[in-house]
Symmetry: C4
Subunit: 229 residues, 4 copies
């Protein structure tokens, strides 16, 4: 569907999503996933071909709903006064190729990035990993910054994986979710399990959980955990 | 004793315990034991067959006394509008089998969970461990999430142990206490000693304290430490 | 000098020191040196044979000037309604044997306690260590809790050392200072260098600074650093 | 240009820079780079031969614009009532020899100082390092504290390097920037990558990024990232 920002319903959806995305950046800070200006959140504006994303190089304390940038899915800016994140083309690529995704998060959170620096997947040795990621957290290839190559690496790596997180070689983490808050949750959980497994393997390699245990944990968490309608 | 929630005394006790349990979750956050919605506190309502527990999948910042869920000791909800924690059946199992326990805490705190991932007990190499846990912190078996199997693993593992904390293989930590605040304290101390011993053993294995030293420290801490009536 | 708490000057000095000691505990919390109730600060009341110390087992958030306990140097309580720290006899021992000491701090801060668990002195490989401690941070023997044995271990270990900090084997840290704030600073710096050196030695042993460099750094820091009258 | 502090324009510039430098110290604290009084920020007063720097040994919570010290580039105090940082002569040396530098930061941040303690450069294995530092973070020699030797070590080490950060052997970190906020950013990013690479190399050595990748990342970050006029 082509979105007309002049349409009142689209305009209201954009306004709402700018507020949501601005507020979600505070979760990156309070969960210790970012320093200075080094991570970003974006969201698809529901029912449109638009996304909302952090402006480039702006401090988290200075973010407001108004400073969020609206782009179309070719990464061209359609609203907002600031230049969008230099990862915008990659976020847009993900939204174009993963229609089920409504939110994307990128961070350099320390423990997850340490696994990414080694190009080593995080093995599924914890129930919390089976719950949230349904298996290992995979590693995607190194890709240059600024174009859509990172987006392509994310989409390719997540194909055929349950994981909502991908480690980008020598770089950091991307996570996706049905809603932007889900992607933020995945970024928080990714760093948490990256840290725990880092500590765990310091005294020797671990055996991953059995596949049937992982399957049972994942199914339960995705269908029973939390508040259901 | 069967509790009638319509009895004013029972009703007052429930109200009080909902407030206490809601507030204690803030200690999990401020002590860095949890991220997102990954841990929970419960309490027995004194003199009844009821427990109060966190609702499933709700953020710590959104918890109120009213949102706490009241269940009987078969884990059936008797009051509250939200679905209870998916660990409720295990909490209930613990209250049924450990009458001296008035509070239970579950977390995935990082250092303790790293020991749990390896299935390695934390050796008693610190006076703080002898004080609080009276020896090693033991490891219980892997158990699936959602039923009472985790509760059974906790009860079995703590039988014949002084420890108020148990590491659940590939999962996390459960702690118990006479009152819910005691269980929270045990969760805080468990993570603290898990971290310190993790750092300590990074340069080689350590010799545990002698049993008579552990016994003397534990006895003193349990009978003389703190404010006594 | 024997102090009469009824003497208005003594009474004012006690009141002032209770406030100071209560406030300094907040530094232990904000600097991440303690969890729950696991560390304490004491101070000598200047010009008297009295000390002010934390009550046993009371949460840091609940400390007030009034809740601080006043004891004489035999560790007998002379004012205050709560039971004093179970380390009081050891603090008193230190004040009796180290007349230049006006403040004592005890913590189980994680990195320093990890060195203590191994019984390994922290080698002087950083200018910050030479500045503050004038050399290695030494290790004292294991001593039981509750009596004055820990105090004796501290005094013995610090004899002939410039260090204001001592690691107590399998236990934690004691620091001393001319004023209680100096002892708190030493506790903060001890944990900071314990952490940094822990990280540094993870990739191989380090060569300590040369003695003449240590001497020059220590002399400068003790005589030139900061604001001088 | 010789600056006359009585000139209203110079006086206004000094006043502004004292406020800026006082405020930037809060970033050292909130980013966890310092404890007690162990790091400092300075700034060149634009268009003058003056610098503004932290007073020696004063707590971060007590810093005000008025307490900042103004010195000339021989490190002689020209305004302010407190003694300047004992690193002032080294800051002044850097401003004299690096005219493009408008701000200097010194910390003992833990991970970076651990690399400094070993005398080991931080290898450029992360895109974030290529972005900000354009390659490895180099190590300078040990130098005594109090004179300008540290400044000389910084200037010498950074010659021919893109890096805005230098690790001083057995000591800590110095960073430089066009403006003081840039130097603070470099200090924050230096600690962040020092931590991430420390974690990454714990399971084996890593291969640095290829030089052409580093060049491309650095060029893009320095010319395209953030908001441009």
């Amino acid at each position: 569907m082509t979105a007309d920002p002049a349409d009142p319903a689209v305009s209201a959806a954009i306004r709402q999503m700018r507020r949501t995305v601005a507020e979600l950046h505070a979760e990156l800070v309070s969960n210790g996933l970012v320093v200075w200006t080094s991570g970003n959140v974006s969201a698809r504006v529901p029912g449109t071909d638009l996304l909302v994303i952090k402006p480039s190089g702006v401090s988290y304390a200075d973010l407001t709903a108004e400073s969020m940038v609206v782009c179309d899915l070719t990464a061209a800016r359609v609203a907002g006064e600031l230049a969008p994140s230099s990862d915008t083309a990659s976020h847009a690529y993900i939204y174009r190729h993963m229609p089920q995704v409504g939110g994307v998060v990128h961070t350099h959170s320390r423990y997850a990035t340490a696994w990414a620096a080694r190009g080593e997947p995080i093995p599924c040795v914890l129930t919390a990993m089976a719950d949230e990621f349904g298996g290992d957290i995979p590693v995607g290839p190194f890709a240059p910054i600024g174009g859509e190559e990172i987006g392509r690496a994310v989409v390719t790596t997540l194909s055929g994986h349950r994981s909502s997180a991908v480690l980008l070689r020598s770089h950091g983490v991307f996570t996706v979710g049905a809603a932007p808050r889900d992607a933020v949750k995945a970024a928080v959980m990714c760093e948490d399990v990256a840290a725990t497994v880092h500590l765990a393997v310091s005294r020797g390699e671990l055996t991953p959980l059995a596949q049937d245990q992982i399957d049972a944990l994942y199914r339960r968490y995705q269908t029973e955990y939390g508040q259901r309608p």
